[in-house]
Amino acid sequence: MSARSGESLRISHVGLRGIVGRGLSAEQVVDFASAFGTFLGGGPVVLGRDPRASSVMLREGVIAGLLACGHDVIDLGVVSTPVIQHAIRRHGAAGGVSIGASHNAAEWNALKFLGGAGTYLSTAEASELLDLYHLRRFTFATWERVGRLRQEDDAIDYYLDGLASVYDLAALARFKVIVDCANGTSSRILRRLAERHGLRFILINERMGALAHEPNTSAAMVALQLAPLVAPAGADAGFLFDVDSDRVAMATGAGVPVTEEMMLPLLADYLLPRSRGKLIITNLSTTALVEEIAARHGGKVIRVRVGRQAAMDAMAIYRPEEIGVAGEGTGAVMIPAFRFVYDGIASMLAVLSMMLERGTTLTEILAGYPRYSILKGQVSFVPQRIPAMFMELERRYSDGRVNSADGLRVDWPDTWFHVRVSQTEPIVRVICEQKGEPPRALFDALMDQVRQYAA
């Protein structure tokens, strides 16, 4: 990935993200941690990190900033974001920080900030945090009130207790599952899950540290190393996690990669009949299959702008029991039983539970859904030309139903596209879906039109 410094740092409502040493620096880490320590009320703060080498540097800076603001810090070590979120609730902590760049390449890193309930910050909270960061107006404790650090090594066990209360883990031991851990935190969790509950996992890329491949959960990444191994291993399914285990993708027992778009509809199909809540919250870029699944179970789809922030804000305006499931086409899904935390491990266990209950294979289950074909592309952009691009696209496709809540989405019966500017990278994303065959002609035309305005 190219790394000009101006393009490799992103400070936004999502937190701090960038290429370490080329944009993201120790200075920003300590400042952001101090802002977060100032923002939070009293109480301890839970901290965890992914296995990247640079995560240790970020960890040290975050601890310094939080202790200086008078917060005790509970360091869980190398754990997934969902484990941190679980520990925040268990400790009644003031909040938490997750260090790790999730699905980004090895040279990236990021800070994610979590509130008292273990949830992501709302837009209003995130705005306040950003203001504190920009003002550099930190409230430090006096010397005798500086916080203390303690290590906690068994957070994963408590988290597994939480999973065990929702899933019949012993019964899932009948499946043999192969997992590509992408050298991330899932390997620790799955090993412990196997020890405690007898689940049968074959782990690849399980050594935490250097990344064997890009840790994104696309179908292409599933096809790279995982899918070819499923059938030879005699596994019932394959799963691929990103580094902090909040996203997951799949391969069938026959070794066929499943597009990451399928995770949400699949889990909606499993969860909606079991849940009082019938709302599915997802973004404008996610497959239209979700609407079909919702219709089967008397559910309703709420579509919001892309980004965790928009999903959090949407969920805040409904009662928790109204919501059946939430998620996005990236393989990140929130299950209500886990208080709406993107959790790849919980999602995997839900898929296995679905196979168990229906007494059938993943291939069979997927065969029960109509085929949708999605094409995704991206183009670097020139910021000044973005408005003109959107005006041109809107004029050209005015025959469809137009939604400009987040870039431009245009819907026709059985076909839609979504063109938007990424929040995390300097690119325009183009997504185009059609029921049945791939909408190749529309996609190619869109990509050409967007490229006219590209860098």
Partner: protein, 459 residues
């Protein structure tokens, strides 16, 4: 207290009151400057027991890692132990997080080079330039190294080194009754081990809980060691030792419970070394003339330097001195162990001297050349220091003047040393003379000049 005293960033590093002044931001930046200066290799980091220590240590780690350094975290240890280990483990440098003898609300960074020595003037100003320019090395993920912990090796290696310079068998055979006040500082765990197990002493110790705050004023000296003196008297100890929070300074209590003058502590240590080995001695300008008499009696030369450990050490290295220190602050520097203030070297030298002579502490002090000392600190307005010094120099036209550090006015039977603090607008006046009356006379005269603004303005 005026604000400028609460934070000081200068060639001696960074020091301040934690919270509103000494922040994790400044500390991280200074550590990253340090890591940039020494290069992307190993750096040893340790601290004393101040409540703010862990917070600042994490900020230091963050800055060092960001500069691409590998951090060896030695945890809570005395500064001389951190220095010794820095030199021994092949590190590029070391950092001790300690405000030494300053009150608990302060903290600071002490910086060492690959030899475990304090940064000299050139190293310090170069580091300061990097800090001010924020010209930091920024390591990428692929260049990033980690933090390793190493708490046992530094203690073991340092104690071995100290024991090798004295007759440890002879000390152990005496089974000295020793009292200790470690101020709940960095020596709280290591010093009892050193005295009991390494030197076979019967130990009576107070303030050896590193988890508790300092129970007394952090600087060890006659005014602050009342509890230790009482302990010595009540338990009938042979000797009492008082440390500062980072274990570089040493105070000594005699068997009657009297806290010795710091100059006498140094004088006995110097005599102990010169008794076995002739060589040059280096002390600062404020240290007692007793040192000159002791050295002269052994046929050895004394070099004087401006106040400050780095100054003394620099001259010691240049002259190949066998012993040195600063009487003014209880610092004994014994290069056979290492070239820095080291209370462990000091304790070993004292016990060795007791064992070798069979004398009591009070008898050793009685045997020292006798001088009478007075000292005081006087505030001055910014801009008034020059005229004040001129006035002092003009007051005694017949005297010998030494201007290497403030002004030292020398007489046949005594001296006056006036120097401004590096950190605050304070003038420190020290006076020494052969008789009590002469010391009082010089002291009163000096104080009058310093305290009387009309005398200054009058020119």
């Amino acid at each position: 207290m005026p604000r400028e005293h609460l934070l000081k960033i200068g060639v001696s590093g960074i020091r301040g009151v934690v919270g509103p002044f000494l922040t994790p931001q400044l500390t991280r930046a200074f550590a990253q400057a340090f890591g940039t200066y020494v290069g992307p290799r190993r750096v040893v980091v340790g601290r004393d027991t101040r409540a703010s220590g862990p917070m600042l240590q994490h900020a230091v780690h963050c800055g060092l890692l960001a500069a691409g350094c590998e951090v060896t975290d030695v945890g809570v240890l005395p500064t001389p132990t951190i220095q010794f280990y820095t030199a021994r483990c092949g590190a590029r440098g070391g950092l001790a997080i300690t405000a030494s003898h300053n009150p608990p609300e302060y903290n600071a960074l002490k910086m060492f080079n690959a030899a475990g020595l304090f940064f000299n003037h050139y190293e310090r100003s170069e580091l300061l330039d990097i800090y001010h320019q924020s010209a930091f090395r920024e390591a990428t993920n692929a260049e990033m190294r980690g933090v390793t912990r190493d708490a046992d090796a530094p203690v073991r290696l340092h104690i071995e080194q100290v024991l090798a310079q004295v007759d440890a068998e002879r000390i152990r055979a005496r089974r000295f009754q020793v009292a200790l006040d470690a101020v709940n500082g960095a020596g709280a765990v290591m010093t009892p081990h050193f005295l009991q197990h390494a030197l076979g002493c019967e130990l009576q110790a107070i303030s050896i809980d590193p988890g508790k705050p300092f129970p007394r004023v952090a600087e060890p000296g006659p005014e602050t060691l009342g509890d230790l003196a009482r302990l010595v008297r009540e338990q009938g100890c042979d000797i009492g030792f008082g440390q500062d929070p980072d274990g570089d300074r040493l105070a000594v209590v005699d068997e009657t419970g009297r806290v010795l003058d710091n100059d006498d502590v140094l004088a006995v240590a110097i005599d102990a070394v010169l008794a076995r080995q002739r060589g040059a001695v280096v002390v600062n300008l404020t240290t007692s003339s007793a040192i000159d008499d002791i050295a002269a009696a052994r046929g050895c030369r004394v070099y004087r330097t401006p106040v400050g450990e780095a100054n003394v050490v620099e001259t010691m290295l240049a002259t190949g001195a066998v012993i040195g220190g600063e009487g003014s602050n209880g610092g004994i520097i014994y290069p056979a162990v290492q070239s820095c203030r080291d209370s462990y070297a000091g304790m070993a030298l004292w016990l060795d001297r007791l064992a070798a002579t069979g004398a009591s502490v009070s008898a050793l002090v009685e045997g020292l050349p006798r001088y009478h000392r007075r000292s005081a600190t006087v505030g001055f307005e910014h801009g008034r220091l020059g005229p004040l010094m001129q006035k002092l120099a003009g007051r005694w036209p017949e005297a010998q003047l030494d201007r290497r550090d403030g002004l030292k006015v020398g007489f046949a039977d005594g001296w006056i040393h006036a120097r401004a603090s590096n950190t605050e607008p304070l003038l420190r006046i020290a006076v020494e003379a052969k008789t009590e009356a002469r010391a009082a006379e010089l002291f009163t005269a000096a104080e009058q000049v310093a305290a009387d603004p009309s005398a200054i303005l009058g020119g």
